[in-house]
Structures are given as structure tokens and as C-alpha cells.
Symmetry: C2
Subunit: 453 residues, 2 copies
């Protein structure tokens, strides 16, 4: 029997638009608030760090937004991406389930992140911006933006979370190859970084801190803007190319997914795959949608739905989201891209409306699934993406228990070529699990100041 | 203007046969000789370490050999591979040349090596073999065989050249992920390894030594065979899927290459792309064909065409090839996959017949071209493959000098995700060039014992 089952699209089938769920929502999300006045912000409040075209997309009432030709031209370097049916994994699990995965690791940066890095660089370039500043966790976002800036002739400065800077030197080197400047965060290049270092000189860093540094860098240099790789509406929008392609490919396979799964940090690959399916749900007929987060940073499963800062330094607007508190400090797990205290406000809103389920896993069962995947499907997955694999495997095992088929679709957001030391630690029994102590979560939750109080 | 120009084939266009140039040669290559008797060997001499189906392919008179369905099923995990026109690189070089590259880095192991690892594992499995032993330089071959063995349920033992084992830990870990056992070579697991260690305890190793170890391992275990990632005719045969696909894709582009380029270690990616074009030359109308080797291991440009051992321990048959001598010890350059003293006998024969040109480059100009490629075409190339890029760039610059177009095709055999420390060394000015002292080459050439003497 043929085991490799791959669904390939033609270049002409790359989506020509990004799809926007905002106008389809039954009620709008609560607006972002100015961190000083605590009043709803307007476009002018974001103008110091974002170009107007991205600000417009952030609040757009349009259902579809055309992808510019220059962006499409770069997308075509690696898009359309393949969708596979994981027959070898199904066989190993002895399950009646059908497992499909959309593989975004074929981009030159190795993940889905260039889907938004490229348009962000493009719109900033058009606005006359010379340099972009950003943060990165595991380095997937930083390397994607480094590449995008290089292709559009811009400079790029990356604040990389300290623990990943040390754990994943190859991702840092990759950013250097594409010409970016990379600082470990917290750094002494910003007030935000210096403040953290004064209190905690050996800080492992967090996305919240690195965001503060990058925002400060952009806000204090007129030729520089800030770029965010997740969380914001325009990021989710750009990533919808994933789900649009996947829907075409599932049609080729002649199946409809019963559950759609993605790993969840800020929400970008999850939203990218899920949002086109959310539109089906909003129209009354979509699949179950499942976000998978690490137990070490469980914003959707243990956080609260509240107004909070996007960063540790309180420089960003207050946004309504699931959050563990802006000074929550997640443990140094290998899935560095999932170490964020908050969650996309749009996806948080959809979770609140009942359209998104969530589950959290510790890293040992995640690596167990990752290894099984690598040894059956051949691709070595990123630790972040492996959270989605773990959940897909558990769905498939549940189907076996039930003795009934189940059609599962997940996003394999990136490869693990720069995470092999984590696999080596797992294989040699040195990888540790981490569940965040409940009292620490309570403490950081308590630091969230209620809006209106 | 659209800059991304990519030629994609349908799955149905993956070649269904491997093409064999042996029956088309104007004169046959000299036969391999038994290392003891120095008489031509027969199939029975190879039977202790190879399965009969591969031995038959080694000497096959058939022009085409069908690819088995089980092999095709695994090929389809990543084949067909894309062919790109490097328009962004052309623009940076301001050249009238058209540069095309066939990209083999999309396989799960990241190079062209699985094209032969998969059929080798398949035929050995069919012959009842439980385990394969092999050598690896940079780790591209070892990781490919580790993957292939895993997919066919076999065990895999890899002797990895010491300098690469230390320089490229991630490739070693990749083999572990796929379940292989990896020893640094020279090791104390074999007589061949122990002999070298006794003379040179801090030996950096070489492919010649590692081959001795793997051959000895296979020859001394009845359930174990040996697997070679380059040099042999059946390896060249399997790799012809590259050139067959590339020819279809060049047809899509509406161009004929004037020069076909590949990096050259033992010859496998070079042969894979070039041999289908060699058939055109043998029929009187093919392109110029150019092999690119490192100055630190210049077998085609500074070696002699003579009978020599394939390994340092003199365990292999004597083969007629371009060689620097079986005890030549190449410097520890980063293109570990090109550190081999010999060359494919088939390709050596074709060079002797005037069908293959060769050029050698030191590693600094190679990394200069690699960085320019990464910063224009986005893909970060392996140091081995970057030798082909260097030559392609020089062809394009020559075309600019002449003020005339030139159609260039090269094989980008793999990505450089596990070679980023070499890039970092280059970027920080720490990478050194290495030209082998002429007297050292003379010394190792003198150690070749003339056949018949």
C-alpha cells in the first residue's frame, strides 16, 4: 500500500487574499486601551511604531484584504506548502483516525513566521522605514524577520530571550547570516532591559521583557518601527494563508476535519490554520478547534480573561486577553516560542465566545510524541509544533478507544533542526518536566490591575 | 517584476526509472580488482557486504532500471524537488547569465543523500539484512541512511569522521533521533580504527578511515551489510532522479543549460545531476559539465588516474579513479562531505574521456558565494553545495565580462542548517583558507602501488 499521501497545490492556488474574521464576529472584541489614559486607543497612538497600512489592517472592517504582488512574489519562494496525511503515524498508533498535517517548515526560515514577516517588512519599507526592531523567543520569529528585512533591503534588530539565545545558538547565527543584529534580552541597550537586569542580573528573559525592549527601541528612533510576530490582529490575518490552503487540500483529500489543532504561544500558527475554520463555525457548521499550550505557560487554561499589558515593561497598550499576568516568568522550556504570558486578543475573544478549546501538556509527553512523529513521518518537528502533535496523537488514541474514525488536522508549524540538543536531552533522560506552581500563577495574576479600578 | 521563478513538477513526473550510462560508454571502465589477488572481482567477492540486487546494478548492462514501488513511496515524501531560477542572485551579480538551481535540500535529511539511502535500505531489507554499517563525513550521508533504515525497520551504525563529529554535533543528534548508533572515527570498535589511533591518537579522521571501519564491521557480522553514500555505480544510478527531473524542469523553463555544475566529493550529487546530460554528450550534443572540489582535497585537479584503494585500511577493492592516494589526509575544512581522497570510477572514466571539467576552490571564496546566495535567494546552503554556487557565480561573472548571456544549471545539494557555526566563523573573520602543500600530495601519491608492478 502507498503510505506517502501528500496534497500539493499549484502556485496559482496560493491564496490571493488574507481573510479577516473581525466583520463576522457576533460581537466585537473590547478595544485596546492606552497604557497611560486607559482610554481606547486610536490609529494615531500606534503610528509611532507601526506603519498606517498595518494599523488599518489591525481594525479592518473588510472581509478580505488583497495580498500585494511584491509579498506574493516572496511567498512563492516556498508557498504553497504541502499537506500530508500521516499514514505511517496512524499505522504506528493502530488508530482508525485519519491524521492530516499542514507543514509550514518548508520556508527558508523553517516555520510559518515568514507569512507575516514578509508583509510587515513590505508595508514598513513602503512607509519609508529603514529598520525594524523586534523580540524573539526560540528565534523562529527573529530569523523570519531577519530574512524579510534582507529581501526588502532593510535593517533588523532582534532582542532574543536570554535562555533561547544560549540554548539555540544556531538560530542566532541564522539571523546573522541574513544580516540582522541580535542582542540577548534583557540587554543593557534599553531602559526596559536595564531595569530587569538591575533587579535580576541572571534573568533568563521572557517574551514580555524582550517586547518591552524592542518597543522602546522603535519608539525612541524615528527611522525604526516595531514588528510583532504574533498576538496582533494583522499577524493573524497574514497567517490565514495557512488555513486557506489547508481547506483546498482537505477538499482534495475529500475529507472535512472534525478537529483542527495548533500549538499556542501568542496564537499565530494556530490562528493561521484555525481562523478560516472559525468562519465556518461562525456560519454554524465548523469543526472543533483545539489550542495546545505548554503546562509551563498555560495562559488559555490557567490564565484569566482580563485587560493586561502585552509586555513586562508596561509600554504596550492594555489588551483584553487570556493572561497569566504581565510579570509572569515562564520556565525555560525548549518550546521557547510558546513562552508568552498572554494570548492574541482576537483568539481570546473567540475562546470566550466558545469557539476555541484549549489543553496544556508538560514537555516530556510532547517530546515523546515528537520522537514518534520523526521516526514515522521522517520530519523532525520543532518543540513548539510538537505540542500540536501530542494533542493530535491523543485525539487519534481516543478514536481508537472509541473504535470509530476521526478526521484530525493539525499545523506542523516548523522543523526542529535547531532544537536537536533538546531531543538529545530527551533521548538521554536529561529533559525535565515543568508544571508551574499554582501559587506563582496566583501571584502574577494578582499583579493585573483591573481596568476601571 | 516577478523575481521568484520556480519550476514544480507533479508527483506523477517523478522519474519511474534510474538511468544507467554504462551501456552507452564508448569504452568500458577498467574493472575493480581484488585487494588480495589484484585480479578483477566478481559478484561473489562483493556478496559479503552488499545484497545481490545492488551488485547487479553496479555492473548492469540495462539502460534503465525500474524504481521499485516501495522506494517510490518514500521518494514521494519530498520528491519531486523544485528547480529555481536565481533571479535575485543574477540581479545582485548584474549578469546577463541565467542561473538555475535544482534544490535537493527539501528531503527530511536535508540533502540529496536519501535518493540512494532509501533504495539501499530497501534492497538490503529484502535480502534479509538486519543492520547497515556506514561512514559519514559531515553527517549528510549518515543521517540519510539513519532515516532510510528507520523507515524500513532496520538498525544503522554510523562511523562519523572525528572532525565532523566534533564540529557538527547537530547532525550526530539527528541520527540519534532516527535511532542510529554513531561512533566517532577512528574508533576503537574496529581493527582499522585501532590501528590509526595507535599511530595517531588525536587523528581528525577521514572518509577513507571511516570507510575501513564500516566495511570491517559489515564483513565481520553476518546480519550486517555495508552501505556507501557515494563513489559506486549503483549510487550514481540512484541519484539520476535529480538530473532527470531537472531536464523536465529546464524544458518548462524553455532553456538548455550551456554548463552543468555540481560540487564533487565522491561524486554522488554531481553524478546525479550530470549523468543524464552526459548521455546527451555521448550522443554528441550535451552541455559542458563542471565538477567543483575543495582545494584542500583536489582529487580531480591534482590527483592521478590510477588503481587505488577506496579506503585507508586497504579493505576495499582497488578501483581505477582519480585519487590523491589512499592515505591522503585532507585538512578539516567545513565541507566535510568533500573530504575524500578518491572519486567515483565511473565519473573518473568520463573525465578521462574528456566529458567532465573540474575546478578547485579554497573555502573562503566558497563561503563568500554562500553568503551572497543566502542573502539573495533566502536558502542557506551547505558548505559542500556552496562550491557549486561559487563556480556558478564565476560563470555568471564571466558572462558579464563577455557581455553575453549564458545558461547555467547547478545542483544545490543541501541546506546548511547544521553548518551555521562555519558561517559564524566566516562572518567574524575566523574562518581560514587551506591549500594542501604540494609536497604532501606528492608523498601520498607516491604511496599508490602501481597495479602490475
Amino acid at each position: 500500500m502507498s503510505e506517502t499521501t501528500k496534497y500539493l497545490l499549484a502556485e496559482s492556488q496560493i491564496p490571493s487574499v488574507w481573510v479577516n474574521v473581525l466583520p463576522s464576529l457576533p460581537e466585537p472584541p473590547d478595544p485596546p486601551l492606552h497604557p497611560g489614559t486607559r482610554k481606547p486607543i486610536g490609529p494615531e497612538d500606534l503610528a509611532p511604531i507601526f506603519p498606517m497600512e498595518l494599523i488599518e489592517q489591525e481594525f479592518s472592517p473588510q472581509r478580505e484584504i488583497d495580498i500585494p504582488g511584491e509579498v506574493m512574489d516572496v511567498y512563492r519562494l516556498w508557498r504553497p506548502t504541502p499537506l500530508y496525511r500521516a499514514r505511517r503515524l496512524e499505522k504506528a498508533l493502530d488508530t482508525p483516525a485519519h491524521i492530516y498535517y499542514k507543514y509550514e517548515g518548508t520556508s527558508p526560515a523553517g516555520s510559518h513566521k515568514p507569512n507575516t514577516a514578509v508583509p510587515q517588512a513590505y508595508y514598513n519599507k513602503r512607509a519609508g522605514i529603514r529598520r525594524l526592531a523586534t523580540e524573539t523567543g526560540a528565534g523562529q520569529w527573529g530569523s523570519a524577520l531577519a530574512l524579510a528585512c534582507r529581501l526588502f533591503g532593510m535593517e533588523c534588530t532582534v532582542y532574543m530571550v536570554r535562555v533561547s539565545y544560549d540554548q539555540k545558538p544556531y538560530r542566532r547565527m541564522m539571523m546573522h547570516v541574513w544580516g540582522a543584529e541580535v542582542f540577548p534580552s534583557p540587554s543593557d541597550h534599553t531602559n526596559a532591559g536595564r531595569t530587569v537586569l538591575a533587579a535580576t542580573p541572571d534573568s533568563a528573559g521572557s517574551l514580555g521583557i524582550a517586547i518591552s525592549e524592542a518597543v522602546e527601541d522603535a519608539a525612541t528612533h524615528s527611522d525604526t518601527n516595531y514588528s510583532l510576530g504574533s498576538v496582533l490582529n494583522h499577524v493573524m490575518l497574514h497567517q490565514t494563508v495557512i488555513g486557506q490552503e489547508a481547506k483546498l487540500q482537505m477538499q482534495m483529500a475529500g475529507e472535512e476535519p472534525e478537529v483542527v489543532i495548533g500549538c499556542f504561544g501568542g496564537g499565530s500558527n494556530f490562528g493561521g490554520l484555525a481562523l478560516p475554520y472559525v468562519l465556518d463555525r461562525l456560519a454554524g457548521k465548523g469543526p472543533r478547534i483545539l489550542a495546545v499550550e505548554p503546562s509551563a505557560c498555560p495562559s488559555l487554561t490557567k490564565g484569566v480573561f482580563a485587560y493586561d499589558y502585552g509586555d513586562t515593561g508596561k509600554l504596550t497598550p492594555l489588551v483584553k486577553m487570556y493572561t497569566l499576568g504581565h510579570d509572569f516568568m515562564p520556565a525555560g522550556i525548549h518550546a521557547g516560542g510558546l513562552r508568552y504570558h498572554g494570548a492574541s486578543p482576537l483568539l481570546s475573544h473567540l475562546r470566550k465566545l466558545g469557539h476555541i478549546d484549549a489543553v496544556a501538556y508538560p514537555q516530556l509527553p510532547v517530546f515523546e510524541a515528537a520522537l514518534q512523529f520523526a521516526r514515522t513521518e521522517a520530519i523532525i518537528p520543532a518543540p513548539e509544533s510538537s505540542h500540536a502533535i501530542r494533542a493530535a496523537v491523543d485525539e487519534a488514541l481516543a478514536a481508537r478507544e472509541e473504535g470509530r474514525p476521526r478526521t484530525i488536522l493539525f499545523c506542523l508549524s516548523g522543523h526542529g533542526h535547531f532544537d536537536l540538543s533538546a531531543y538529545e536531552n530527551y533521548l538521554t533522560g536529561q529533559l525535565q518536566d515543568y508544571e508551574y506552581p499554582a501559587e506563582d500563577i496566583e501571584k502574577s495574576l494578582a499583579a493585573i490591575q483591573p481596568v476601571g479600578a
